[in-house]
């Protein structure tokens, strides 16, 4: 595996660019939906806005409050950033196989995502702020509720492709058909669960600005905040690219062609879907969100898996 691939394309630098681009796209789309302009004067149409935010935060003073648990507080943002960056290397971006891939990398992605949330909780807890503690508890609660339907729904594509590897799933879609056509229900469930995983409206409960300020974010400033914001962007990319790879065929284009451009276009569409949903709803209450996850999403995800199993028998 060439060094250049990891650092430049489709590795770190490309992902960084993608993350900033996605944040800009998301902000711009939401602003448009809210009848505003959004970032405008930072670069052409404000495209450099997330970059400027990032640089500014890096250059800001980094305050460590006296009361916090120093080790976890400093380590938290770095760990979370690493953990949200790692799964991105397993996503097939440029070709039908990813930079790194092995049988079972889907499970690995799920595992890392869960781990990330536990680290989030720990760093929230370590900042000993009442708001971040409540935020941290809500993060965990939300994970417990949404991880399960997400995992179950994600086995759908795996069963169809008879493989637990993302790259294999993409290759299956290249040879057969897009899984969105076969499993629209799964796509919907995954989208909702990913919204919750991303903590976006209507599931931005752990960082509800009007209830608990910024939830577990509240005590972080300067470089740590910069990293955390970058993490959020990576998570956005991760969520969108999971949707793309699992259901939309990743970099597969029509007539058996493969290009990063196809991947990119699909990614943009997915992000627009996510921002659209973000602008359309009010926030749920934590108990309502949990109830919804257990009562509707989990059974639906199960039904969807059963359907995936039964489908080939009914329609040969």
């Amino acid at each position: 595996m060439p060094f250049l691939d990891i650092i430049v394309f489709p590795g770190l630098l490309f992902l960084l660019f993608l993350a900033f681009f996605c944040e800009w796209l998301d902000r711009k789309a939401v602003a448009k939906l809210q009848n505003r302009v959004g970032p405008k004067h930072t670069g052409p149409e404000g495209i450099l806005q997330p970059f400027a935010d990032f640089i500014k935060l890096l250059s800001n003073e980094d305050i460590i409050p006296a009361a916090v648990d120093r080790i976890m507080f400093s380590l938290g943002p770095i760990l979370i950033l690493t953990l949200s960056l790692m799964p991105l290397f397993l996503i097939p971006i440029a070709g039908s196989s990813a930079l790194v891939w092995f049988e079972g990398d889907l499970i690995f992605i799920m595992f890392v995502m869960t781990l990330r949330i536990i680290i989030t909780f720990l760093s929230a807890w370590s900042s000993t702020n009442r708001f971040s503690m409540i935020g941290g508890m809500r993060v965990i609660l939300q994970m417990l509720a949404f991880e399960i339907p997400l995992t179950i729904a994600m086995t759908g594509p795996a069963i169809s492709a008879r493989s637990l590897s993302l790259s294999k799933i993409v290759q299956f879609q290249a040879s057969e058909h897009l899984l969105l056509l076969a499993q629209p229900l799964g796509f919907v469930i995954v989208t909702i669960c990913l919204l919750a995983e991303l903590r976006m409206v209507p599931f931005d409960i752990p960082k509800a600005k009007t209830e608990i300020v910024k939830g577990w974010f509240v005590e972080f400033s300067g470089k740590k905040l910069a990293l955390l914001r970058l993490t959020e962007d990576f998570e956005l990319v991760l969520a969108a690219s999971l949707m793309v790879s699992l259901y939309l065929g990743g970099p597969i284009g029509p007539w058996q062609t493969q290009s990063v451009l196809y991947f990119f276009t699909k990614l943009v569409i997915c992000i627009l879907i996510l921002s659209n949903l973000r602008a359309l709803f009010a926030r749920f209450r934590i108990d309502q969100a949990l109830k919804g996850a257990w009562k509707y999403l989990t059974p639906l995800a199960l039904i969807q898996v059963i359907l995936v199993e039964l489908m080939p028998m009914v329609i040969p």
């Binding site: 009848n35 409050p65 000993t128 209507p202 709803f281 009010a282 934590i286």
Partner: protein, 390 residues
């Protein structure tokens, strides 16, 4: 039962004004609430005693930027009553028009804030965009967007020019259209319903016992409106309905306010159509004879009461102002009982608090300082203890 305290304010994104609630919560459920005001206490009642009546108009207008018209009308009515002055009919009509415009822009603003509290940013942006129409109308008539500075004792300082009538009427049509849409949205959008229905219950009995006023009271099904019960300005000549809802929750308050906007628009239309001709101001002496008066006005948030005592000089002896938010704070504490943390902002928004109004004189504090400024260590000990006991 062991509990966890969270401070809410004084600086908090859900509150544009500083106030401090300290909630005792058990998990996510509110057990009790203590509140502390005094962050916006500017001693206006004392200041008023050092100023002349004309200067006081300026001061009273700044009790609150959002109910400025209501406060000024209330104050000048009290002075006019002691003076025995009858203001011209045109001035009465114009006062009504401006007061109703204030209500419209206030309710729009409130709808936006409520949406913001439930994390519905898009609705917030939309309502605030449409609120600019109302502000434009106010600006055409008075020359300012907030704190209109148009009232004085004995009438108005400026007249409505004929050229302003048509833009205002057009604006009213737009506002009515938009509010119809928002009302439909509030009644059908599932996430809004989830957050408002059954939240912050205030039974009619409690509402009366604790003295709620304005839309908060009317949403508990009680038909009380100063404009109707104790008409002032030109409300006797207007025909309108009192909106009541009997859901007793935030959803009812939401809808009651939406409907009130329609009534306000209707009142303004009637006023504009029947606007009498003539002067807008009578000259009044700068010295007010001895006497006292109680004046009541229905501000956007509810009943506004001023008590004025004059001692024959050009300065007043005592001015007491009771703004609606203060009356609604006790019912608010009642509403919090057994609610979820996530509902707190919604419930607070439900009474449309205007702390600047409530606080020009009052402070409530039932806690000692120590709970307010916990160190991290204390908190950690507390939280560890909390988990051990569970």
């Amino acid at each position: 039962m062991s509990t966890f305290r969270i401070p809410f304010g004084p600086q908090h994104p859900a509150l544009k004004e500083p106030i401090n609630f300290t909630f005792k919560v058990d998990g996510e459920r509110v057990v009790s609430v203590k509140l502390r005001l005094g962050y916006v206490h500017r001693g206006i009642e004392k200041l008023a005693e050092d100023r002349t009546y004309t200067q006081n108009i300026h001061l009273v207008e700044r009790v609150c930027g959002l109910c400025s018209q209501a406060h000024v009308i209330c104050f000048s009515q009290a002075v006019e009553e002691i003076l025995g002055v009858e203001i011209p009919a045109r001035a009465r009509y114009l006062r009504t028009i401006i007061a109703e415009m204030e209500r419209i822009q206030n309710h729009y603003m409130w709808l936006g804030f409520t949406a913001h509290e439930m994390g519905f940013e898009t609705l917030f942006m939309y309502t605030w965009r449409d609120r600019e129409i109302a502000l434009n109308m106010v600006e055409t008539i008075t020359g300012k967007r907030v704190n209109y500075g148009i009232n004085t004792i004995g009438g108005l300082r400026r007249d409505l020019t004929a050229i302003a009538v048509n833009p205002v009427k057009r604006g009213l049509d737009q506002l009515e259209d938009r509010m119809k849409y928002y009302k439909k949205l509030c009644m059908t959008e599932p996430t809004i319903l989830k957050r408002t229905v059954g939240v912050g219950i205030l039974r009619p009995k409690d509402a009366l016992r604790f003295g709620a006023v304005g839309p908060t009271l009317r949403a508990s099904g009680i038909k009380r409106d100063i404009r109707f019960d104790d008409p002032y300005a030109a409300y006797e000549e207007a025909s309108f309905n009192i909106i009541t809802y009997d859901g007793c929750d935030v959803a009812s308050r939401l809808l009651a306010r939406c409907e009130e906007v329609f009534e306000s628009i209707e009142i303004i239309r009637q006023m504009l159509d029947n606007l009498p001709k003539g002067k807008v101001r009578v000259r009044v002496p700068s010295q007010v004879p001895q006497g006292e008066a109680v004046s009541r006005v229905e501000a956007p948030r509810g009943e506004n009461l001023h008590y004025l005592r004059a001692d024959g000089t050009d300065k007043l002896a005592r001015l007491k102002m009771r703004a609606p938010t203060l009356a609604n704070l006790l019912p608010l504490c009642k509403m919090f009982e057994n609610m979820n943390i996530a509902d707190i902002p919604m419930i607070i928004a439900g009474i449309d608090p205007c702390i600047a109004c409530a606080e020009r004189m009052t402070f409530i504090d039932t806690e000692n300082r120590s709970t307010n400024s916990w160190t991290g260590d204390e908190l950690r000990k507390y939280s560890i203890g909390w988990y051990e006991e569970r």
